[in-house]
């Protein structure tokens, strides 16, 4: 009986952990369903896993999601979308394919904001080659205005490894928060490795 109570209590505590924000300390951390490791230099808040739209995604924030957000997508397989979408919706975010060109990848991310995130204005500011997870990847910089009329800036770094998509994105309000988090984000990108 004691063992049974212990199991139930453990499960309950585990459930609580999945329902609340957790502190991420500096140092190596496994992210996005443990598909990648990265090494933040400061503290971040990890969103509860129950709040994530897909199992391949994980989101962190330092000052609250209204101000900044780092999104990790790890090992997204062929045929899946970056967002959860209704099957019969007439406006769909494209699904990922490993044969996507850089334009396909950037327009997929753009669609995620325009369709999934209801961005009213979305402007590409730069598309550059980058090494990410030891692969040739794409660094995509943009800004957008959301439904709340707040202007955001963003950087998505993505690469295809073993036929799966790996993506890290920093979004922050164009006033202060994007610039404040960018150096650490770039360091995290450089530290990222496939597990």
């Amino acid at each position: 009986m004691r063992i049974l109570i212990l199991i139930i209590a453990s499960a309950a505590l585990g459930g609580c952990a999945a329902l609340s924000y957790t502190l991420v300390n500096p140092g190596a951390a496994a992210v996005a369903n443990a598909s990648m490791t990265i090494s933040p230099s400061g503290e971040w808040n990890r969103a509860p896993s129950s709040a994530e739209p897909t199992r391949n995604e994980e989101n962190w924030t330092r000052n609250g999601f209204m101000l900044d957000r780092i999104q990790f997508v790890g090992a997204l397989p062929d045929g899946q979308a970056l967002v959860k979408q209704r099957e019969k919706a007439d406006r769909q975010v494209p699904t990922f394919h490993p044969t996507m060109t850089p334009t396909d990848l950037t327009s997929m991310v753009e669609s995620m904001y325009r369709i999934g995130g209801r961005a009213k204005v979305f402007t590409t500011t730069s598309v550059k080659p980058v090494t990410f997870l030891g692969q040739n990847g794409v660094q995509f910089d943009y800004d957008f205005v959301g439904d709340d009329d707040i202007r955001w800036r963003g950087r998505s770094v993505m690469a295809v490894a073993s036929g799966k998509l790996y993506l890290m994105t920093l979004n922050g309000t164009s006033l202060h928060y994007f610039d404040a988090a960018l150096p650490e984000f770039n360091a995290m990108v450089a530290s990222a490795a496939v597990r």
Binding site: R91, P94, T95, R114
Partner: protein
Amino acid sequence: VRAPVRWAWSAASRWLCACTLSALTHIPVALSQTEASTQLAVDIAPQPLSRALENLAHQSGLEVVYLSDVIQDQTTQGAPAGTAARDALAQLLDGTGLTFRYLNARMVRILTGEAPLETVVVIGTRLMPARPAVAAPTDAERLRLTAFDEEIEQRIARGQLLYGRAELDSYLQRIAARLLSADGSEAGCVGVRVIKGADASAFALSNGSIYVTTALLESLGSEAEVAAVLGHEITHYANDHVLRGLREEDRRTLVARSASMLAWLAVGVAEKHAGLASPHTTAQVPDQVLRMWARASMTGYSENLEREADDRSVRRLIAAGYDASGAVTALRHLSEQVPPGRFVNPPPLYASHPQLARRLSSYRDLLAGRLATAVAAGGELRRSEYAAQIAGLHLDQVAILLQAGDFDRADTTLDAVIGADSARAEFLRGEIARRRDPGAPAGSARALAAYERAVRLPDPPAEAFREQGYLYWRGGDFAAARAAFASYLARAPQAADAPMVRSYLEQPPSGSSSTKAGAAP
């Protein structure tokens, strides 16, 4: 024909003496010659008569109007392809006990068989009725209206929604001025502007700003149709519909509050009676109820105000010398754009009205009834002038739909563009194929074929070369890819993605062993 009927000859001569007209039969015979030559392209199958008449209107452009009680559950045997519109209509009505009569060259009225060919007595009076008396806004109401207008206009500005083609805005402004002259209103009291939009919509603010979306303009076929839409929105402005809507909303909120209070009190009384009363049970109005009412009030004007706007817009249309069939055709075109059951977002706009079919029926009633004689004089449609003004808009609309991820409608819109063989049209065709399923072989092949056609035509978009380059590279044709990338960079050296494209050119001449299809070289 029901007499007396209110009408006018024109805007310049709004007053008439009493006069008589012979039955309408003589006017239409000659006018109908043009329509009689229009033939059905496809069969109209046996079906309910109302649907068959929709089909006839769709195929021939002949608008059919009738009082709502004339057509109910009759069915028709249909009409075969190749039949002239006039004969087809006769065949559709065969055996239904109904007849028809041309009101003007483009509009025909359905009558019950026993309707007499009577002499119509027309009492001349104002076509445009006086505006309803509305109490001037209080200071508090004025503040709310101003705040609402400013909020909407700021959102348009922040969302960079203005289409920004000054000559198109001016053209629409001239149409509005022509409509406003119908009742002597000042031409500049409204300002019309076009905004980018994937859905067909139009709306008026209390400050006189009228906005129409590119999707709406793209779906209409003549100046008379857009005049009908503008006339509708002008009425919303001129007849203080925003203010009246605001007052209705306040009344509804009050009713909601009262109803909610009564409900809560009833619950309280019941609980007390059952001995369940808690110290926390109070007669509060849940915020949710108020929000729900506020939202409901924004999903459009009340049916009365919409009816008033429809009525005045048709009168304005006729008085301004436009063919009144434009009003029916506009709504028919818009209802064809909106899939059944789909509620377009954002809501408080012309095409998003959930009762398009009911409004279409209301227009038909109006034209077959009170305004039947007024439309006999016909009027202008100005199809070619309208087509010239929106010539460049169709492809822009395809790009807007593409950006919105609505590939089916982008495809349909592109297919409907007359002479869509320009480099930009081919590039957009390629973009639809590529974005529909990025990376998939079949879509990529179609996209590449379209890009190849685009770059062979005059003035191709630089992006067509870039996409061609990526697809060649992925297919292993590195020499062709390099040539395409070089063409792209020559045309767009400062493009945001120039560094990415340049990185491909910096690879060894044979490509790269690490380059499988995908993200980067």
